[in-house]
């Protein structure tokens, strides 16, 4: 896994995979039927993106693995998703805020990646971008309306934002691989996205009346595979059948 293109593909694929896995647990449990359907749609889109990125990672690696083996047979330290997406669902406010922060980063990231000098990276990003523009619009609209809804909905969204904030920084953590990718004009330095994303959040906060936390003390480590405790449980659940009955066809 030394090729930096693999690092990028895993970073993108694992973020989408883990968030999709987490969101999909709301299917049948969301606050309204429309929301149940919409959140399942987002999960389905992300699962599609994860498949494209992980397939790409497996091809570059060229060791006979595929998207499924990467998803189901890696352990936590090999995952490259940000710490934010692995935060527990907790409640709908947390889930929605997590999605909102992710979408704000994801859209900026894909806009830049769709200009990548690496044609495969650019192609996957352009495909995903069509759906992610809608994801951003949806979560932005919901966060604005709930922030400026009742006192209760405002407080719940603010608490969720505060609780997730330090994990959000995980998207902007740079590594040596990122420097190489930047030199090749494959992808931007992760840290360079922060001001652009923050500007988006600040613009939204005028309407949502939510206060963006000022702290820039970020939880780090995801780029080296150092995750939060929850990722182990997410993987244990997701990988259960493949691990229990290896070499089976499903």
């Amino acid at each position: 896994m030394s090729n930096p293109r693999i690092h990028l593909a895993l970073r993108m694929g694992d973020n989408s995979l883990i968030l999709s896995q987490q969101n999909s647990k709301w299917c049948g449990h969301a606050p309204t039927l429309e929301e149940d359907i919409a959140l399942a749609n987002v999960s389905l889109d992300l699962m599609g993106h994860a498949q494209m990125w992980l397939e790409f990672a497996a091809e570059v690696e060229d060791e006979g693995r595929n998207a499924d083996t990467l998803a189901f047979f890696r352990d936590t330290e090999e995952f490259r998703n940000s710490l934010l997406v692995e935060r527990p669902n907790v409640d709908f406010a947390t889930t929605l805020m997590r999605q909102y922060l992710f979408d704000a980063w994801h859209l900026e990231q894909l806009l830049l990646l769709s200009q990548s000098s690496d044609t495969l990276v650019a192609e996957i990003s352009q495909k995903a971008l069509v759906e992610v523009r809608y994801h951003r619009e949806r979560s932005q609209s919901l966060v604005i309306r709930l922030g400026d809804g009742t006192i209760d909905s405002h407080n719940r969204m603010q608490e969720a934002l505060n609780a997730l904030w330090s994990y959000f920084g995980s998207f902007f953590e740079d590594s040596k691989d990122d420097e190489m990718l930047f030199d090749l004009q494959t992808s931007p330095m992760p840290s360079s996205l922060y001001p652009r994303v923050l500007e988006q959040l600040n613009q939204d906060s005028v309407l949502s009346t939510l206060k963006i936390p000022e702290s820039e003390f970020w939880q780090k480590g995801a780029v080296q595979g150092h995750h939060t405790e929850n990722l182990g449980y997410i993987l244990a659940e997701m990988q259960y059948l493949q691990r229990t009955y290896p070499n089976s066809k499903w």
Binding site: L17, Q21, S24, K25, C27, G28, H29, A30, P31, T32, L33, E34, E35, D36, I37, A40, N41, S43, L44, M47, G48, A50, Q51, L54, A67, D68, A71, F72, D91, F92, A93, L142, R145, L146, D148, G149, T150, D152, S153, H154, R156, E237, M238, Y240, L241, Q242, Y245, N247, S248, K249, W250
Partner: protein, 330 residues
């Protein structure tokens, strides 16, 4: 099927000669195969029976998300996960069409939801059984959706327009679900020994509950007679159950699985399968709240509703604020 015990007026259907002029014109319209639309006059009994039936059907779709939703996070491949999630999402969509169709009869989705949450409204008994292994995702598609289709295909010709049109859309998706379910059953049945054992175990557990989906024999029921006269029910329960057994038995044989019924065999004379009746005592217990998962299913729906109250209130408050500021600006 998803509406198992729809009580109608409790009386036999009236003869044309004993009907009022309005009732007669209504019945003749149905007899001619014409559709009834929301703004048409309809007897109160027709409206109420339909509301009960469509409500039970919609609730079944919504509660029906839960047993399969149980396996989304553990689906064994990314493709299976995608298919399962899309399928459970479809169920929510079916619930939405059906609630919308029922709203044309003058009852809101919120009112119907409250009836479900309080336990007053019924939903199909099948969703009160647990999903215990991955093959259950196959068996639910193959058997449960298979049984549902038996009932829903004829309902595309039902007399109430919005219901019939919802059914057309639902049937297309259900037959896709059934094929996906059978595909999982094939993979499991022709897979490793352990996979085949899971498939057999799943068939053992889901066979009789699937037969119960059609409801008890109703050839003597006045409720069914009235519903059939109104064309909101097209076939008797036993008729559909037989059709289901005749379709499913050869499929089980193809899979190399054994249907858990020693009496099941092809009858040359009747040209259909003989089979054992399910345990109807169990059915009535499950339908009245005592099935293995009734408590969890209703608790999950209640939790979703209660925990989501702030979310719905928040959006509503925001929309009111925006409306007010728009009015002020005008």
């Amino acid at each position: 099927m998803y509406a198992q015990e729809v009580k109608s007026t409790g009386s036999k259907p009236k003869s044309l000669s004993s009907m009022s002029a309005k009732e007669k014109a209504f019945q003749e319209k149905i007899d001619r195969g014409q559709r009834i639309e929301p703004k048409d006059w309809m007897p109160e009994g027709y409206r109420r029976t339909l509301l009960r039936q469509m409500g039970q059907h919609a609730h079944s779709e919504i509660v029906g998300q839960l047993p399969e939703g149980n396996w989304i996070s553990r689906a064994p491949t990314l493709e299976r996960k995608t298919i399962l999630l899309a399928k459970v999402q479809d169920e929510a969509g079916h619930g939405l069409y059906l609630y919308s169709a029922a709203e044309t009869l003058g009852k809101s989705r919120d009112e119907m939801t409250k009836e479900l949450l309080s336990g007053r409204a019924k939903y199909s008994s099948i969703f009160n059984y647990p999903t215990l292994n991955w093959a259950d995702m196959g068996a639910v598609g193959w058997l449960v959706d298979g049984a549902a289709i038996m009932n829903q295909v004829p309902l595309q010709r039902t007399s109430y327009g919005p219901y019939a049109r919802a059914m057309v859309r639902i049937c297309k998706e259900e037959s896709f679900h059934q094929r996906q379910g059978f595909d999982i059953m094939m993979k499991m049945s022709f897979g490793s020994k352990k996979q085949k054992a899971m498939a057999q175990d799943s068939l053992n557990r889901f066979w009789y509950p699937s037969l119960m989906m059609f409801g008890p024999s109703d050839s003597e029921s006045v409720h069914s007679a009235q519903s059939m006269a109104w064309k909101i029910k097209i076939n008797f329960n036993d008729e559909l159950r037989q059709k289901f057994v005749d379709q499913t038995a050869p499929q089980a044989e193809y899979l190399g699985l054994t249907i858990p019924d020693e009496k099941l065999k092809w009858n040359e004379k009747t040209e259909q399968y003989d089979y054992s009746e399910p345990n109807w005592e169990e059915f009535f217990e499950v339908i009245s709240g005592n099935g293995p998962c009734n408590t969890e299913r209703l608790a999950a729906r209640n939790k979703a509703w209660d925990d989501g109250e702030w979310f719905r209130d928040g959006l509503l408050a925001n929309s009111t604020k925006n409306q007010n500021s728009q009015i002020a600006a005008e």
